[in-house]
């Protein structure tokens, strides 16, 4: 029972973080929510008995993709700070 409740909570958090990542007005917040989403995905893979995917998702899906997106937000900010549009 508690396991099912945890799964339901995890599924709801996945949806919530995804929707936040898609709708947050600030790109920085969106990327943060996306990384949260990636970590929750890793948790979901662990719950599905897929530790390989949990590792890959945490390292690649959340880690590397997150780093790429963060770097790009920084790039975007530096750019718009220099030449306001």
């Amino acid at each position: 029972m508690t396991v099912l409740a945890f799964d339901l909570l995890l599924a709801a958090s996945l949806l919530w973080s995804a929707i936040r990542a898609l709708t947050a007005p600030d790109p920085f917040r969106a990327v943060v929510m996306f990384i949260v989403f990636g970590l929750l995905m890793a948790l979901a893979w662990a719950r599905l008995g897929a530790p390989d995917l949990a590792l890959a998702e945490a390292a690649i899906g959340a880690g590397l993709a997150g780093a790429l997106l963060f770097d790009s937000v920084g790039h975007l900010r530096a750019r718009s700070g220099r030449r306001p549009k």
Binding site: D52, L55, A56, A59, I60, L64, A67, L68, H75, A78
Partner: protein
């Protein structure tokens, strides 16, 4: 975008999701069960972890093409950066002292972790891709801390490093063709060959993944509008 097309797209995907949920709740029992086939063939795969067996033996051909996709993405990133293949982004002017000590402390641990993941892949969760991701994170950290000078590796040896894993994989895929099928490892050598492929892939994929980050178009580099 105007309101009406937005509503239209949203409605289409809402309907699609609803129909998908209906379909998923009414799925029949699958006619084929691959789980049994995997278990039966696992003994001849050279590894004891089923996911690794599928990834590098039963469906190793997928993995070969996937490695090409990753290389391709790096070449695409280099194209987009307008850089000569192999060159990397400029270093931050003054690397942070904290970042440097962190990198010194963490990077050996990352190498250890990558080695463990690579070794573990044959019998438990882990493997080349996870190990490469950890190693890539280490490379990026060292680079950003200024501990990995830009001219440490010449362009051509860097490119050779990027390709080595793929070329080893390609050679081992082609070698059995003389008297067998693509990627058909001899059973008694399968374990060793998979470890060889995975070791090559770990190094090359680590460089590739780090390259995807380090070769992104740089700030303030061009003004051609």
């Amino acid at each position: 975008m105007k309101l009406l097309p937005r509503l239209g797209v949203t409605a289409v995907f809402a309907v699609l999701a609803a129909v998908l949920v209906h379909a998923v709740l009414n799925l029949p029992e699958p006619a084929v069960r691959l789980g049994g086939a995997v278990d039966k063939a696992l003994g001849q795969s050279g590894v004891s972890h089923p996911v690794t067996a599928v990834l590098l033996n039963f469906r190793g051909y997928d993995t070969l093409l996937e490695t090409a996709v990753l290389l391709l993405a790096l070449i695409g990133v280099l194209t987009a950066s307008g850089q000569v293949p192999g060159s990397m982004r400029r270093l931050p002017s003054t690397p942070h002292a904290f970042l440097q000590s962190l990198a010194r402390l963490v990077s050996p641990l990352m190498v250890l972790a990558a080695g463990y993941l690579l070794w573990a892949g044959s019998h438990r969760p882990g493997g080349a891709f996870q190990a490469a991701a950890v190693l890539a994170a280490g490379i990026i950290l060292l680079y950003l801390a200024g501990l990995l000078p830009a001219n440490a590796a010449s362009t051509s040896s860097l490119r050779a490093g990027l390709l080595a894993g793929f070329l080893i994989f390609l050679a081992l895929a082609a070698a059995p063709l003389r008297n067998g099928a693509l990627l058909q490892y001899p059973v008694e050598m399968a374990g060793a060959l998979i470890l060889l492929i995975e070791s090559g892939l770990t190094l090359s994929l680590a460089l590739t993944l780090a390259g995807l980050f380090l070769c992104l178009p740089d700030e303030f580099e061009e003004e051609d509008d």
